[in-house]
Symmetry: D2
Subunit: 304 residues, 4 copies
């Protein structure tokens, strides 16, 4: 099925809704993005594509990258990573630090910042050249060798990332960071700076809709069981403090980033990426959330 | 398909695992339950049944009842119930009171105690005879007129429910409880005291697997959209502080109670109820959780 | 020394400052107080009196009464009351419930609401007729038999005291309330409703400036050591979240109430009570705080 | 009066009490201190001295140094330092990070770590050579030019001070740290590493007992009013989560450090320093606290 007509239709409906969202402005590189860009790209496990708008324009994927680093750690690491982080939703952002304090440095899940930092600490231990290896992994998922870090974004994030440094220091005080903080944070900020298009994101998440196998290459990334579990984790923890809202309204596992991107997966069917830079108050793309809600409503494709 | 053989197989496997769980003991009526009982019942939307063990023995459904009261409020109330509660997972139990304080008396979701108390407050407003109406609703879902409250359990809960009284008073101080506290809590404790068997629970949850329609009667309880949303809510909020674990390991929306019961729903397929009174440290049935994990692994039936 | 001239002088200065304070309005009886009343009364341990303004008009002493109930418990109880409450300052009001949760039902000190409720629970255990006995105690301290509870205020407090009921229920859930909640809260709300004038308050606190002995009668209320400790407790815990401010600016141990009264004690010198109903944002008398700051500055009488 | 006999007497009594305290062991330099050392030194504003035990042996003054840096900032800075920190007691250590989060990066007082770090940030702004200037200030207070930083201790503190780095980064994320974090923390850790004896501490705190004037030189450090306020601040905030206990049992303003030192001040009388390296569970010298409690009890010298 080609969904482009439905994309067009929903897009037109959304045009009539005023977008109260604000582009992320904590670093200049995000603040200066043209706010009215919009793109969507869907890839089915059978290789069909549907696209609309700025679907091939790259943007800063930010926290969406946490899925890549988590999957890489989950697929490579033999030790029990769940001793170093939990897999429960996090509650309000307000709680991030107190939760970490209360739980003695164990983050609630791998998709909040604290958890993604622990994942980076694990990758620094496990990989020969962490930055190169993570990049190769993403490139191979999307069969695209031009995907890259944006070192200017990484540098800006680092210069203003005091709260993330508060998190990593607090975790280190509890012994849950093994490596040098600078090395870990260098990897963390680099991963957040990766730039991809909706098309590339949709393609590189497709293995999660295909029981863990990359359709175009046949390469197995995760076992079927671990694939389901990764999807389950995105469902409960993929949207900061809006995981419940997204599950309730969209009904698909997914992950968002402050660059305005959202990727969602319908197991055994497709992967879809949408991008619109203006964010709602919870830090998720305002129009992206609405678009996906309308999409699963119109197509009656929700997992519930 | 008849799943009884699989039930038997999994049950035998679990026999070899020591059950470290403890029966709930905060009231004598729960403490004195024979701890080694075990039952499971699955009903498909086509009316097929599979059962094993004590599947027709009634037990105290406790928090599972929160789904019934929520569905009744969600189906009847015209006002926006989401102004009075959120639909996000709650974080650690530790946070229940501070979260309520921080969010000015708005509970995180309708399935934690604070949220279920607000649902009762809504039902006291909306229903002519709240206790009778809730009971009729559950009886009609399971076509069984002998289902009933256990007034001795309700009384015991009330006498020892100081933490619940702390919650309702805190919410009332913020203006989020409209009615007399005693009236609201009487309904709340009554609902928790309802006794049902795995068979009855499985049948009465079946409309949630059937797009909102009770299969045997054709009665519509919720619209397809609201049915999906109720399932989504169970997925993210149905297991206290183990919603992530359950989603990760079982991969079905569901709801548990401290009586040792768990109900889970596979949309467009079946509803399954399992019962084993010993609880893990998070207050969910130890064996029930393991059983459902094994069941979705063996049958490869998870929504993810 | 007669301080009336200094009182007059400070009062005139304060007239030029706009009072941004608001009268407590959570119950009608407090809301309807004429807001511009002002009184002050100082009594030295040698029996000298200085007064100004509405110093003989009675008002609702509210939390100031917590000193009386604490002293009565401290002087009568043989068991270790410090096993049931701590004696540390409480931090922000926001924390009251989480602190109680974190500390398993043990209040931070006897002057926050939770601690004063535990004191009432102790008095219910210890005294034959708690309400009568507390009243007799206060009457004997001030040699005035007309001091009394205001049952209308007590009733209003009770009807709107949901947060206090949240506290007592939470403590009872931890086993730190022994008696029936209604009996404890009846005593608690009654004590808060007592009405006294600045003159009466100043006289009845005088034993705290006199090593524990009531000057006019020679009756010993507390040992010298316990008297010092009670003063120390008022210093660190007597002003909600403004104990630091008051210590910093005034430099005397004291206790405030939302009726607008403040009593402060200069050991071995005097006791002073001031009353002005408009409260600052922390719930302490705006003008009362300023007055005492000016008074200790001008007289150079601070304990530090 | 010469208190040496009383010192001797109390010391003998304390010998019969088993000391359950533990020497601070988070850095080797503190862990390796001989734990049974004990010293005390009292200096009156008239220049009389009383001493006992290891009173002239230097030890790591740690948090006691926060009084020196605060006084220096308070005496030099024209801007309102209270816009950048509060002056209220802090509540439990558990709350340090959540409080900072809740209060948007404003520490509760200048004597908790977060507040002392803000003081260092202010000094970095105000002083030409912060480290040299702070040292000169302390040397001039104690007329002793050999007092110095211990760079090995400072280095160890820095290497293991992850929680302090969490605090400074969190405050910087709220804009409450103006300077480079490394510069601020270098000053902070240096100040904590200063080594002084009981004699030197007692002498250098004497201006706080003398209305702000150093007795031996006549130099005014603080105005009388600011002196009183500094003492008041030590009273409510000088002992981590034991300020209430210390006020209750000792009844003097003071400041403790994890090196096992405690200094206390009796306004218009004397300053006393005691040292015993074993700490109680709250991080204050076990024997030091007991010694001062006995001392004020026996001498009946408490400010209350």
């Amino acid at each position: 099925m080609n969904y482009s007509n439905i994309f067009h239709e929903i897009y037109n409906e959304l045009q009539n809704i005023e977008d109260p969202g604000q582009v992320a402005d904590y670093i200049p590189e995000l603040a200066h993005v043209e706010p009215n860009q919009f793109g969507v790209h869907l890839t089915t496990i059978n290789g069909e594509h549907s696209a609309f708008g700025d679907s091939e324009k790259r943007f800063s994927i930010q926290s969406i990258a946490k899925v890549f680093s988590f999957v890489l750690a989950y697929s490579r690491v033999k030790s029990n990573i769940w001793e170093r982080m939990d897999l429960e939703p996090a509650g309000t952002p307000f709680n991030s630090l107190v939760q970490l304090e209360y739980d003695k440095g164990i983050p609630r899940n791998p998709f909040i910042n604290a958890g993604a930092i622990v994942v980076c600490d694990i990758l620094v231990d496990e990989l020969a050249s962490p930055k190169e290896n993570v990049l190769s992994f993403i490139r191979s998922l999307s069969k695209n060798n031009t995907i890259n870090y944006n070192p200017i974004v990484a540098h800006s994030e680092k210069k203003s990332g005091f709260r993330n440094y508060a998190l990593v220091n607090l975790m280190k005080s509890f012994g849950n960071i093994k490596n040098d903080i600078d090395k870990v944070m260098d990897l963390y900020f680099s991963i957040c700076s990766i730039e991809m298009s909706c098309k590339e994101l949709s393609e590189s998440f497709l293995f999660l809709a295909n029981n863990g196998v990359v359709p175009y290459s046949g390469e197995r990334i995760l076992s079927p069981s671990r694939t389901k579990r990764t999807n389950a984790l995105m469902q409960t923890c993929g949207f900061y403090d809006e995981a419940g809202q997204f599950t309730f309204k969209v009904g698909l596992p997914g992950k968002s980033g402050v660059g305005g991107g959202i990727v969602a997966v319908h197991p055994e069917k497709y992967s879809i990426a949408v991008w619109s830079p203006r964010l709602n108050k919870k830090g998720n793309s305002y129009k992206g959330m609405l678009f996906l809600e309308e999409f699963t409503t119109k197509t009656k494709l929700s997992i519930f």
